[in-house]
Symmetry: D2
Subunit: 373 residues, 4 copies
């Protein structure tokens, strides 16, 4: 994770601003011989795409991805395979609505990174937030689609589990339900509650926060590299790099602070296919290494900073003013963050897999194995 590149061996470098001609990424280090066309990537982008419901921004972007390098096919090879060289992906910006930016050209929108970018760089592309725009996350989702193909045995699923004060009861989570509503909500009973809440928020020109849950099933034991490449440390960085995220927790997370040692211990029994755990408070990671259980995390998102209520702020000249942020905005960025959180999970896991394969040859040692030690 460094400037605009993340990953060690599966490396993704993203570029682009909200209102520039295009955005994209270069995915480097991908294994060769993996079938890959635009059709493998586009569905994931479509999940993230704006303009798909009442409670997300009305900006209309087809988000059509184009693969510019790193794949090859000819008459002898139906389809296309990755070649092991860098895969360049590009998504053109289409609906950069022509409008008057004179207000925010000068003023710092409170809650946004406008002032921080100004303080650091002295120059900033204010159109639609420039580089800080959530449009950049399209590049992450595209990269995540490739990452998933490197670890085909892993299933990643995300859900919104809280919007504003309304949290889903963990006991009621039904992952299949997330496909049935516009909120990725895993509890059908919560959907009308959120609808009502968001309608109120939208009408008030306000916004609201959310919590996203994510799980990776099928991650074998052994991924992650202690001590500073711990799987959960890398996931935490990946999730915190998403726009508007304010917190990350794994397994029991903050709740584990109130646990006793007895509650916390994820006891083990021998199963037919190897160790089985009686609980997963650890969230599938111990000592920074996967245990073979589902890798589970939750990410907190603050409310969209763009709201219609005037807020006190400054402009670049240092003068005080009040600002209301017009434009097309999601009232709850957490909703559209779901595919992004999933994509970051996929990228970190693909990278962890490659690094694990490098150091150990891949695979895991099983209890009872006498090979080494």
């Amino acid at each position: 994770m460094s400037h605009n590149t993340f990953g060690h061996l599966f490396r993704v470098t993203t570029w682009g601003e909200s209102h520039g001609p295009a955005l994209g990424c270069v995915v480097d280090g991908c294994p060769s011989g993996i079938p890959l066309t635009e059709a493998d990537i586009q569905p994931w982008l479509d999940k993230r795409r704006p303009g798909q419901g009442k409670f997300v921004t009305q900006r209309q972007e087809p988000d059509a991805v184009r693969i510019l390098s790193g794949v090859f096919g000819d008459e002898r090879t139906p389809g296309q395979l990755t070649t092991g060289t860098p895969i360049s992906l590009m998504i053109e910006n289409v609906d950069q609505r022509s409008r008057d930016y004179s207000e925010i050209a000068q003023a710092f929108r409170p809650g946004h990174a406008d002032y921080a970018y100004f303080a650091k760089y002295g120059v900033r592309d204010y159109r639609g937030g420039g580089r800080q725009s959530a449009r950049e996350t399209a590049a992450r989702v595209a990269a995540g689609a490739i990452a998933r193909k490197i670890i085909p045995g892993v299933e990643i699923r995300g859900a919104v589990v809280q919007i504003g004060p309304h949290a889903v009861d963990p006991a009621r989570i039904d992952w299949a339900e997330t496909a049935n509503n516009q909120f990725w909500c895993p509890d059908a009973a919560m959907v009308p509650v959120w609808e009502e809440h968001l309608e109120k928020v939208r009408k008030a020109g306000s916004s609201t926060g959310a919590v996203v849950a994510v799980e990776a099933l099928g991650v074998p034991a052994g991924w992650g590299a202690p001590l500073y490449g711990k799987l959960d440390a890398e996931l935490a960085a990946a999730f915190m790099s998403i726009n508007a995220s304010k917190g990350v927790e794994f397994g029991a997370g903050f709740a584990s602070a109130a646990f006793s040692g007895e509650e916390n211990a994820d006891e083990m029994r021998a199963g037919p296919d190897g160790p089985e755990f009686l609980a997963n408070n650890a969230g599938g990671v111990m000592g920074g290494i996967s245990t073979g259980q589902p890798v589970t995390a939750r990410v907190a998102f603050k409310p969209t900073s763009s709201i219609l209520t005037p807020r006190q702020t400054l402009n670049e000249a240092g003068e005080e003013l009040e600002l209301r942020t017009k434009g097309r905005h999601d009232p709850c960025v957490g909703i559209r963050a779901v595919p992004v959180v999933e994509a970051m999970m996929a990228c970190v896991l693909a990278d962890a897999f490659l690094r694990h394969r490098a150091q150990t040859g891949g695979g895991a040692f099983h209890p009872g194995e006498t090979a080494r030690r």
Copy 2:
């Protein structure tokens, strides 16, 4: 952050196991000309040192640090200065109590990383947890002492704000109070409550979780490098790399999920020395860049996994057994984590400062400045 090295320009590589001859780290990339002797590092290690109270492990380790390289002084230069070359620090292990490890040599302690290390590497140093032992954090604290000297204008302070179910009321936090008790507790009234709770936990051979709060004051605007070197993303990785941490949040953190956009906006006014914020829900970081406000975070720690109550587990042969973890352990690892959290904050900030200076020359653009844009 990669395997056993963290940082990009201020790079720390740690090594060592709980029961090996020594542990230590190599600090690379430190600026030259900084006065540095063992006396600058030892006090921070003394803060972290075990054997200092009823509620921390009784292992007696002097944790005396030795600087093996990277500094120089002669008769013309009283004291010693860093030379810009790698600083090697070593701490010898002294109190590796001779005991019988035959039980855990074979068995995986539940809640510990024993099984994960076995699954990944096939061979593990089980004595005292080997590399997964919290003794490694001594190296982090030593590195943090050097990091602080690179950013002398920054003050870092940590506190325990929750032990088990007993959380400090944020309104009652008095940072000065942390020096007055063995818990780094910022609320004098909470001290007896925690004492009672921990006494009960200790007697039961159990353990308890905790939450640590940390703040950095004096961080100027502009540190942190979007999008994948965001200051909060790097801090999140640094904190999640600490033993037993299960969650990280910044500013309002998970609470911001329930906020409205109006509540969330950290409004700005013009102050005599530059922008002033009316709130700090962002935790001093927006868009991954520091804003000039205090950088604030909270880290959740699970209970110590070593407890006396027998727990179900497996051994390396895959056989089921029950295990109670004897030995000398902290009933609440969160307490001794405070200096470690502070040290990781220092290291990440020193690294962010150097990277900021590289790209921008250092400093920040101030509103009203007409230099560039």
Copy 3:
């Protein structure tokens, strides 16, 4: 330097194949506030462009570069400035001549990397050499144009000093002369000799090797970071990463093996503006750190591997065959390598400058200065 990214703080990630839709690079870590438009980059690409003489490939590529991100300008800022965010550059491939690749689709061209790519990846884009094509160097040249703007005080100049057996006498080198001929030859008397040699080579369907010399003037003392980020080590890697390069030397290079210690010592005297050296056998670098003298290097290039004389080889089925490589090729790749060598020098120096500024604040300590020691 890792896979398809080079540089530490000034980081360039290149992508693209010879016969794909486009090629390009992402330049990350560039300081903000630097004026940059396509017009700053295009002239350097034009220097490298194919189709410009009898002795370079006749492929016609306009090599028009497009900046897709990382710059910003509005009515208040005439022109465009870098914003500190990643700069994405794209060059479309235009003249991918439609032809029959069936022969090399199966066969490994000897001297080329065809077999090596096959052995590593199992799948390869054979059209025009795919990723191994020298077309990729256009991305390097574009990145180099940006690098030069970060270190405006540094002048970089390259020349061909040997083609085949005909080497320029070092005493006759006149850098100004390189602009007057199609060979970047610094000795007017050598031009007809090379013309005759290359004409013979071209007619024979053969090719020839070359040596390129490069110098950077105005590099201050202090750049480069021992021990493994030595300025000459990083330059060596950068030059060796260029297609067809087989050797690199600095200063007196291989000749210094025959020197005595007396000949080798670059003695110093006090000049009006600081230390002056009486010789520069070191090539401007000692201990991996620049000395303030010109940084000088020479790079050896092997002959173009594509020749018309049939050569023995294998195909992907492992069968023996004879192959003559048709197509449009430079008989001497060393000639068109000059702008590439210059660009790599620029990129490495810009990166070294940023890293030096990070660790030291920039600048150099001057003899007589009493500040620190």
Copy 4:
């Protein structure tokens, strides 16, 4: 390669100065389960050790290496195995002869990096050259011993092939001969010539340069990662990072500049075990990827900069003076560089192997294989 760390997955961080208490390195990323004790490392250090002949420095250093972490053995595992955690190696400095450094404490030894370090850092450890001392290479040799165990099928051998003006005829190279003389000379007939030359040089208080050749046999096809992690690019950086090296070439190297395309093509035939090459002008690397042939390189070393003849220079005050460098020095550093060059080759190859295994699973595609493409 960055500051004091080299390698990507097999990462070596070295530390220590000539006259500090010790020097060493941390080797991170080593696979687990490899038998490793001090006895595996010490013989390689003994090869490099000073004090072993008339023509190397008389400093007496036992160079006894100590493993401080990263290995484990118990009664169930005879011997010790690597655990996958960082391996810390330490070598104490013993013979730091007490002497008067007042002369070079102030003056810059010409040809040395004294001035460059001063200009960069403002403070330097002048005792024995501090960090720029060739003593640091002991850490490289120790790391190389571990690297060799990761790639047991690879044999690495080095030789001195030129001292001063006296070069070995390539046709006369007999690798077995290197063990029979103090020069690692592969031509018995050259030994007396070099003895006479070096005796003259030593008596004159002078020094001489040298060229070292190195080969790695048994490297399979497929190692190395284009375009900026090319095997030869990484080797070039590794070799150029060695003290006093001034040039690197692979295969035919600089001689290939005079080649025709026909001479240069390394033609291929089908052998019983896969492709066979009729020549190896490429030095075992094409397009940055190993071809299965021996990887061959040559490294040029300048003469030792410490000589008895007075040379003109400056001191830290900027005053002119003449300096003759007393002390214990090798008249030809190239000789003792042989084990260092070999070690760097081993480290780069081990790293390349791990990275290749990460991206491809290891192994190579063989002609005739129909698996993928």
